[in-house]
């Protein structure tokens, strides 16, 4: 899979945050390396609060690592000079502009790039259709359900056709049924043009069902990858059906064995705090 230059390469990333009360600095991520090949779907799983989002923000160029380098298609990414222009980012929380209608939210990125409005609207309508929201373009985000807002956010990110897709637990706020629908839609959209995806989740089943590769992170602080598992389940997949296959269950057992200890560690640390 990893032929040529990786789409995204994080090398020996360490990220420390100064403590608010002037105490010892908190090391969120320590010496973490991670690559995503071109067209690869990589999921990162780890116990809650282990610095998964920190890793993603570093990959997006929103956050500068204390040490280590980030390369995007071979070029060094320096957060001070701006964000990762080849990546689209889907946030965990709602990040739609509440004062813009659905359509205006979807075409925001095109607008920022100076695309003429008539053309942007045409593309925006097309994307609304693709995510099943045609006819809802004139609604404001607060008039939509959680699932619709997620689909809107997906269209908003994908309309710019980024080479790399960064996703931070995008579906964690949805109910199980809506979530599986969204996961299938994501896979279908991904299959069309095989972008490189870095998908963060705490849900191992979701990670296995979607990805080519699953990376397991250790419990925080000083998170680093402790396991890297190839998922060789056949594609195209249906996320609700693939969960029943023996291959899936075997993988789940194997990865869970590696994860379990870290999850318990994180839980114990949270209980002690």
């Amino acid at each position: 899979m990893s032929v040529g230059v990786p789409a995204l390469a994080l090398e020996k990333i360490t990220c420390r945050f100064a403590a608010r009360d002037g105490g010892e600095a908190y090391t969120a991520v320590a010496d973490a390396s991670l690559t995503v090949a071109k067209g690869e779907f990589v999921s990162v799983v780890g116990p809650t609060g282990c610095g998964k989002s920190t890793l993603l923000n570093i990959a997006a160029g929103l956050l500068a690592p204390s040490q280590g380098t980030v390369s995007v298609f071979g070029d060094r990414l320096i957060a001070e000079n701006g964000v990762n222009r080849r990546a689209g980012y889907m946030f965990q929380a709602d990040a739609l502009m509440p004062w813009r209608t659905g359509l205006d939210n979807v075409i925001a990125g095109l607008e920022f790039r100076g695309v003429p409005r008539s053309e942007a609207v045409m593309q925006g309508e097309a994307w609304l259709r693709r995510v099943g929201l045609s006819g809802f373009g004139d609604r404001y985000p607060h008039q939509m359900s959680g699932g619709m807002r997620k689909r809107l956010a997906l269209a908003q990110t994908l309309i710019l056709s980024p080479d790399i897709l960064l996703m931070d637990e995008p579906f964690s706020a949805l109910d199980v049924q809506t979530r599986q629908l969204m996961e299938n839609e994501l896979l279908a959209l991904w299959a069309e043009d095989k972008k490189s995806v870095l998908f963060i989740t705490h849900d191992l089943e979701e990670a296995i069902a979607l990805s080519d590769r699953v990376v397991v992170l250790s419990a925080g602080p000083a998170t680093r990858p402790i396991g890297d598992f190839k998922v060789d389940l056949p594609r195209p997949r249906d996320v609700s059906e693939i969960r029943m296959t023996p291959g899936f269950l075997a993988l789940h057992r194997e990865i869970w064995a590696a994860m379990k200890e870290e999850v318990l560690k994180a839980y114990a640390a949270q209980k002690a705090a």
Binding site: A60, L62, M97, Y140, Q143
Partner: protein, 266 residues
Amino acid sequence: MTRLRALQILVVCLLVVFWYVMTAPGLIPPFYFDKANRAAFFFGEPQKVFWVIVDWFATGEIFGHLAITLLETALGFLIGAAVGLVIGLWLALSPTASAVMDPYIKGFNSMPRVVLAPIFAVWFGLGIWSKVALGVTLVFFVVFFNVYQGVREVSPNLIANARMLGASRRQLLRSIYLPSAMSWVFASLHNAVGLAFVGAVVGEYLGSSRGVGYLILQAEGTFDINTVFAGILVLTAFALALDAAVGAVERRLMTWQPRASETEKV
């Protein structure tokens, strides 16, 4: 709803009747003042107040004064809001400037700004601009603090998302900070317009040659208490009308904001 309206009207009627009974000379024996017509001298009489208002509108005398007062209100509001918006955005986005200006802003805000009215009268004369200036100082702070707060409270997610979508600093200002600040400004619009009105009337009252405040001032000079009350009632009615107009504008511009009764889930 109609029952509520009826009760509201009943309250007004009772008040007017109470006013009339207490002030009509000779209707009831005087129990506080030593002469029968003293109560009417201090508190006016509702039917006379009513006729003063009718006379104002019938002869058209009031319109010129009202127009001046409303013009002062509008100018005070617009200039104050614009300056508050610009300075609020600037200080919210520039931490250094904000830290330097902080004590001055606080000091200027705690000052009872109505005391500036005599100075403004000296600086800008007795025309409309001294009243506009007073209105501006009152409106500025309401808008300024709301814009400042609005920009500070923009969700970091929203900013990160816009940056990832490729927004430049300028575009961030236009599509994230400004709309977010505007929603806070609109929340304070009723307050701001009310204060602009206060600035205009207080300014007129302290020295002017036109305006509703001037009418009140003149009437007070001749102990014409009925005309003073008539002026107060007209001002109150227009303040209510202004508030309703602001409400209508707000509803037009803030359609994107969820309202409890209106939120529809699909």
